[in-house]
Amino acid sequence: MLDKKLTFKHGVHPREFKSLSDHCSIERMPFVEEYTLPLSQHIGAPSKAIVVKGQQVKRGQKIADAGGFISVALHSPVDGTVSDIDIFPHPNGKVLPAIKIKCDPFSPQIRESSPIDFEQMDTKSFISSIQDAGIVGLGGAAFPAHVKFKIPEDKKCRYIMLNGCECEPFLTADHRVMVEHAKEVIDGIGILNRFVGAEKAYIGIEANKPDAIEILAEEAKKSDFPVEVVPLKVKYPQGAEKMMITAILGKEVPSGKLPLDLGVLVSNVGTIACLSDYYRKGKPLTERVVTVTGTAIKRPGNVLVPIGTPMRDVIELCGGITQDAVRILLGGPMMGVVQKSIDTPVVKGTSGILVLTNNEVKDLDQYSCIRCSRCVDACPIFLNPSMMGLLAKKGLWDEMMDYNVMDCFECASCSFVCPSNIPLVQSFRVAKGMLREKWAREKEMEENA
């Protein structure tokens, strides 16, 4: 054990609130009447439906194919009938194509599946089998896992790094996965390593999860592949992949480069546990652990939710919300997305459902920037949020490029520390959107010309 915990420079220390749900073991969500499965639950091209309205589907049956390389398949979470294929509200606020499946109330819901023999597979079929299993990064961004695991020929993966930091306040889903599914996590590393050929694996865990560190370290000893569990200092955003690499290896991922350029493959612990589930039990990604928490939830907990379950039912399972609930977020309080409705389904990227009361959500007045530079001291990637905030206010998006706004990964540390309550990260999000839109327009014009 190291005396001084590894970490990165800068960052913030929000209150954790993890004790609300970190002791609650994962409970299974009972089946509900109807499931809505949006075809775009991941980053990249939407999946293509391969079922028709009225068709009978089995639990774990593939209902949509990947719509391209950066895309994954989709599977039915229950035995039932496809009741509709149309546009339905998506948690991102848009109304997008989705498959609705009506659960068969008389079905025993037994998954008929067998282990998949990966020993004989070559890397190419391994990659396509992950795509077929519908596995995406479960940390929140839902980036297709197979794209990450495909190591380009000119690069080499030296270290596999598992992200078990879960630095967002409130969230405890990864924590519970590590405690209850430590075996699967370590097994998943072994499976992945067969195909990427790394030297060593690290599991980065924040020091506020001593039980997870202990159990995983115990389990890691049994593995024949060198796995090191690294306790990290409790600091936000320790769980950002670039921050974790800096903490563990002491190297910085350069701007615009990927972790793989340093020979590191970073993945969420839940994603790796999924790999083990798929190859050992033949279970595709049809359910995930969601933390349902917040001061306005009557009975916070960690729930294993079938993908596509309406959020309303998940909240009801946890006792519903109290009278003074004012804000619903998907994900943690720092990076989570505020929701306007709970009639949207849980998707693959939903790591938590957080409901807050007036005590946490304060409508504060905004003041001018007093140039105290607290945001500069907080930014984990050494940007200048203060200056970018001023530029964003004036809509000078191109000038923000000089301050590397595109490197910002929206951890919200700057907004968190700002004494003037300036919505810094919000304006960077807008700026990034505007710049991307502008580039797309310019590209289109070039193509037309």
Binding site: I87, P91, K94, K340, S341, Q366, S427
Partner: protein, 301 residues
């Protein structure tokens, strides 16, 4: 001592003369011919550099005019007299003036559209609201009403009305497309003014579902399709779509039986009227065909 002063003076004067000669020679040798009309034409243009003509800036437009690549009426900002003057000055045809204006494809203001949440704090712009799960309105396509378009308009042709919707003043609108780019919901389109029949809704939801979110949503009931000449309107993805190739066949008749007033006929001053603001309170609005004036039906249905 005096020597040094003289030397310095000689060197400086010599250098001055040398550079003077170089400048004089290069002025002659490297002179670029510029059409003398260019400055005049540029002065005659409005010099707003709005880009509505599709050329970056008024000077670039003037260059294209002189090169006879574009016609003066391509400038949508100039008055007709101004365009005539330029045409006369250059001795070219003014070209067909095709006045276009920006139109908002949403009519769901505060009184009509259902709100699910309050957008508070934050940056207070439509763009900022749109990144938070698409804004607080129940309808994912609707206008957010924070006025990014009105801020972007350089000609004061857009203002936010009391119903929380932007209104375009057609006389001032130059079709520069700034509002089109500013709207995160892509609700503005540039249309020729002759196109009077428009569907002010973009919701792709099914009839009742769309109407439950906004009282002026297009429910795709297809009454307008039946009432209009064949081929003018069709239903695509739960939305009435007007085929403007048949614009000459379009009549106000198509709007008469619309149950939600999603399809409207803009005529003269009528486009400033918002009779549908009252629909929620009064039960319904019917249009008298012959005179175009509105008769309000008071009883609730």
């Amino acid at each position: 001592m005096t020597n040094e002063i003289i030397i310095a003076l000689v060197i400086i004067t010599g250098l001055g003369l040398l550079f003077g000669v170089i400048l004089a020679v290069s002025y002659k040798k490297l002179k670029v011919y510029e059409d003398p009309r260019l400055d005049t034409v540029e002065e005659m243009l409005p010099n707003t550099n709005c880009g509505a003509c599709g050329v970056p800036g008024c000077r670039a437009f003037a260059e294209k005019l002189i090169a006879n690549e574009l016609v003066p009426s391509g400038c949508t900002v100039s008055s007709p007299e101004g365009i005539e003057n330029i045409a006369e000055f250059l001795g070219v045809d003014a070209g067909e003036a095709n006045k276009r204006v920006a139109r908002l494809l949403c009519a769901g203001g505060k009184n009509e559209a259902h709100n699910l949440a309050n957008y508070k704090g934050g940056i207070g712009t439509c763009r900022g609201e749109a990144v938070v799960t698409g804004g607080s309105k129940d309808c994912s396509w609707g206008c957010l009403g924070l006025g990014d378009c009105a801020v972007s308009c350089d000609f004061d042709a857009l203002f936010m009305n009391s119903n929380g919707l932007p209104e375009v003043i057609p006389e001032k609108c130059t079709a520069c497309s700034d509002c089109v780019d500013a709207c995160p919901k892509e609700l503005f389109v540039l249309m020729p003014v002759e196109q009077k029949l428009i569907v002010q809704c973009r919701s792709l939801l099914e009839g009742d579902l769309a109407e439950s979110k906004c009282s002026v949503a297009c429910t795709a009931c297809a009454r307008c399709v039946a009432d209009a000449e064949e081929g003018v309107i069709e239903i695509k993805n739960n939305l009435a779509v007007i085929n403007y190739n048949h614009n000459d066949l379009a009549t106000p008749l198509a709007t008469m039986r619309c149950p939600t007033n999603a399809i409207v006929w803009l005529e003269g001053e009528a486009q400033f009227e918002k009779p549908r603001e009252k629909t929620l309170a009064l039960g319904g609005v019917e249009t008298n065909m012959s005179s175009g004036e509105k008769i309000i039906v008071t009883e609730r249905s």
